[in-house]
């Protein structure tokens, strides 16, 4: 089970309802919605994607399977963008 970890050097800023992740090394900025930002904050390298999905399901009162699908999608997207270790 993977436990994604945020890469160092990514700054986070909340702008209204959106969150901007700024990768200073690659000089890229990415806008994410509230759900993706919540997932990002939980990528601590300790919790697995399943753990995060279960917590997401509890906090936002959504089915676990839907939460798992969302977390996996967000994880893939962050990985493609090079934001994870």
């Amino acid at each position: 089970m993977t436990a994604p970890a945020r890469r160092d050097g990514i700054s986070v800023q909340r702008i209204g309802d959106e969150t901007v992740l700024h990768d200073a090394v690659r000089q890229q900025a990415h806008v994410v919605n509230q759900s993706a930002a919540w997932v990002w904050e939980h990528f601590d390298g300790i919790r697995s994607t399943d753990d995060i999905a279960e917590q997401l399901a509890r906090e936002f009162e959504v089915p676990v399977e839907a939460a798992r699908s969302d977390v996996n999608a967000v994880t893939d997207a962050f990985r493609r963008l090079g934001l994870l270790d």
């Binding site: 702008i15 209204g16 959106e18 969150t19 700024h22 900025a29």
Partner: protein, 298 residues
């Protein structure tokens, strides 16, 4: 087509021509071996011209007779060489703008690459890449009676939420006069080479009513390239994070302190409606923008 002297012609001159400008409280003095270069810059920035020795920031265009090159030196001492007089003049103009932008930044003001107009007292910032149609839409909106603040730089003050007028003359490309109501005569004027395919610099008062002071930020639109098939303007709402990133695109402030610039510009767009705009015919698009503003502001 207007032209500036060849380097050898400039090099034979020993007199330095000067012009001082006060641009939003930033004093800049240009010194140049070429009178033509000053005249060309004055064509756009003459409205800011002041007499005397005003201007602590000095930018110079010098000639090196031996090498035949032209050197532009910035207030910080950095230099840039050009072989062509036209290129050196445009670089001189770029450095003038850069000096203003960096000085405004020190005062907490952010210059973003956008046109700005005002509708019912509130500023609309029109961002987009060069050639996207910012100026065309700005003059089309001015033709509908909106006040005009700038076609090139929107000067944002995050502390107050105001957009300051930047009354440099409007830079018009060929093709624009035919598309905007009341501007047809502009296309008959002699063309000048102002860089970036700009052919004419016209006063804001020729396009409409210049704003006589800052206006509170009211809305932001990001122009996206239109396709030939676009027959009606299309608005797509975007969040304030996306809007802030679009406004910061290519800005000097973002290049030196991205998080700080994002925080500042983000604070300007959070409370206002923001959208992407795929423009169609300029006058039809301008009318759609006014309707969008009226809907958005209730």
């Amino acid at each position: 087509m207007h032209s500036v002297p060849a380097p050898t012609e400039i090099a034979e001159r020993s007199v330095m021509h000067e012009a001082a400008y006060d641009i939003l409280g930033v004093g800049v003095r240009l010194r140049s071996v070429s009178r033509a270069s000053i005249e060309l810059i004055d064509d756009s920035f003459g409205v800011f011209r002041v007499e005397g020795t005003h201007g602590e920031l000095v930018i110079e265009l010098r000639a090196d007779a031996e090498s035949g090159s032209l050197t532009v030196s910035r207030p910080d001492g950095a230099t840039h060489r050009s072989r062509s007089a036209a290129a050196a003049t445009l670089h001189l103009m770029d450095e003038l703008v850069h000096a203003v932008i960096s000085s405004l930044h020190q005062r907490g003001l952010f210059a973003v690459h956008a046109a700005a107009v005002a509708h019912r007292g509130r500023a609309l910032v029109l961002a987009g890449p060069s050639g996207a149609g910012k100026t065309t839409l700005a003059v089309a909106l001015a033709a509908l009676g909106l006040e005009i603040l700038s076609d090139e730089l929107a000067i944002l003050d995050p502390a107050t939420g105001l957009v300051h007028p930047y009354l440099r003359r409007l830079h018009i490309r060929p093709g624009t006069p035919e598309l905007v109501r009341g501007m047809e005569q502009i296309g008959l004027r002699e063309r000048r080479d102002l860089g970036g395919e700009i052919a004419w610099a016209i006063g804001l008062e020729e396009a409409g009513t210049p704003a006589d002071g800052p206006r509170p930020m009211g809305a932001a639109l990001v122009l996206v390239p239109r396709s030939n098939r676009t027959v009606e303007p299309r608005f797509t709402s975007i969040g304030s994070g996306q809007a802030a990133l679009e406004l910061l695109r290519g800005t000097w402030a973002a290049s030196i302190d991205f998080p700080g610039a994002l925080r500042a510009v983000g604070s300007c767009v959070v409370p206002i409606p923001c959208a992407r705009l795929e423009a169609a015919d300029p006058m039809a698009t301008a009318e759609a923008i006014v309707a969008w503003l009226d809907r958005s502001h209730g």
